[in-house]
Amino acid sequence: MSSIVVTVDSQGIENLIGSFQTSSSALNRNPLVRLLFSGNQNVVGQILASLAQEFNQMNSHNVDTAVASNSQDISPIQIHVHRSFLGGIPAASISISPLGSSSLPSMPLNESALVAYTRALNSQANIRDYLMNFVTDLLITTINSIKLQSSSLVQMTGATNQLTRTAASLAADKCHQLAVALFSMARKVSFEDVQIASRQLTQCATNVVTVGEDVVSDIVKQYSRRLMDHCKLERSSWI
């Protein structure tokens, strides 16, 4: 089969971000959101994976732009992203200083570039929070549903600097449920399927743990470890 060429529908993304910032009724009318409400595993999994990939790319581009606009006279530099959760509302502030110095900024900063970056960061983080609910609502049925949902979660937690405490905690919970379901059917499905799913769940646990030790469910890590041990056991011939 030849490759399929898919280009990003930037207008569709902009519309989604716009509806999100307008009102909840505007959001409910957005075509992508209406598809997400279908509860259909394939539809929800695909849309979330696609949105996550696009947001991850936008995020990388934003970081690069913020660095570039502030690095003409400064080389090398380091960027500190300070995350705070005041009253549960995520806020990021960014400072730039020469490599090796203390964390207090002492260089002139390109204010507008950083403001733009912070705004984009926060709006994308808020949308991720909202989108995370759709995957957590999906029913866990067969090994295929576990593979699809864990793949979506890996991509949705992939840009860790955009993960709020809420989103990370929702993802950790869901990964935990998927791990429990996988463990219960591990002896009845193929070793290769267990390997794929447990690798993805381990990646999910790794992604959410970077947000903060107090956010991640330790049980997710435990289950991931047990699943990886199960896979190692399978490899050394255990039935």
């Binding site: 089969m1 030849s2 399929i4 060429v5 898919v6 280009t7 990003v8 529908d9 569709g12 075509p31 992508l32 598809l35 595993q41 394939n42 539809v43 999994g45 695909q46 849309i47 994976a49 696609s50 990939q53 696009e54 067969t142 295929n144 549903s145 593979k147 699809l148 793949s151 193929s190 070793f191 290769e192 794929i196 399978e234 490899r235 050394s236 011939s237 255990w238 039935i239």
Partner: protein, 175 residues
């Protein structure tokens, strides 16, 4: 003594085979354990199978095969994928005691893949909000087809991601 099990079990060539052996009775003086693999050719005239020892076994120890001298034996799917011409396999374990040896075995038949079909994605290009339709008509499998799973990769050579799955029938999905 060991009781051989001569039933043919169906196995997918895409999955590994993990077997274990249990010694029943007086098993305190086991000298050694060894697993052997045989490939089979059906003798249509006499309705029996001729088994030939699969010789490259030691060459693939710890790449295709694990645990040859232990109670737990694994053959990875590479054994089947690299030998698509062999559809009958026999896995045998031999326990050697001071005065005698005892053996047991399992026979496997490779599950044949579906055939005679094709897959088409329409349209061949679009955006992330285009509805693409995947059609896989005309596939035949003697055991019947239960469901379809779809995988995609964005970067050639990397692992595929699960995109969707369904029961028997046509599947449509956005992007």
């Amino acid at each position: 003594m060991c009781v051989p099990n001569l039933e043919f079990q169906l196995v997918n060539p895409t999955t590994q085979v993990a077997l274990y052996a249990v010694c029943i009775g007086l098993c305190l003086d086991i000298e050694s354990i060894r697993w052997n693999i045989y490939q089979g050719s059906a003798n249509s005239s006499s309705n029996s199978t001729k088994w030939t020892l699969f010789s490259p076994m030691t060459a693939y120890e710890n790449s295709w095969f694990f645990g040859i001298p232990t109670t737990n034996f694994t053959a990875t799917n590479q054994l089947f994928l690299s030998n698509p011409q062999i559809s009958l396999w026999r896995f045998e374990v031999v326990y050697t005691f001071p005065a005698e040896s005892s053996t047991s075995a399992l026979n496997f038949i490779i599950n044949q893949a579906p055939s005679n079909g094709s897959c088409l994605i329409d349209p061949p290009s679009g955006t992330t909000t285009t509805l693409f339709t995947v059609s896989c008509p005309d596939w035949f499998d003697a055991d019947g087809i239960n469901d379809y799973s779809l995988y995609g990769k964005t970067i050639p050579g990397r692992e595929s991601n699960s995109i969707g799955y369904s029961q028997h029938g046509r599947r449509t999905h956005p992007n």
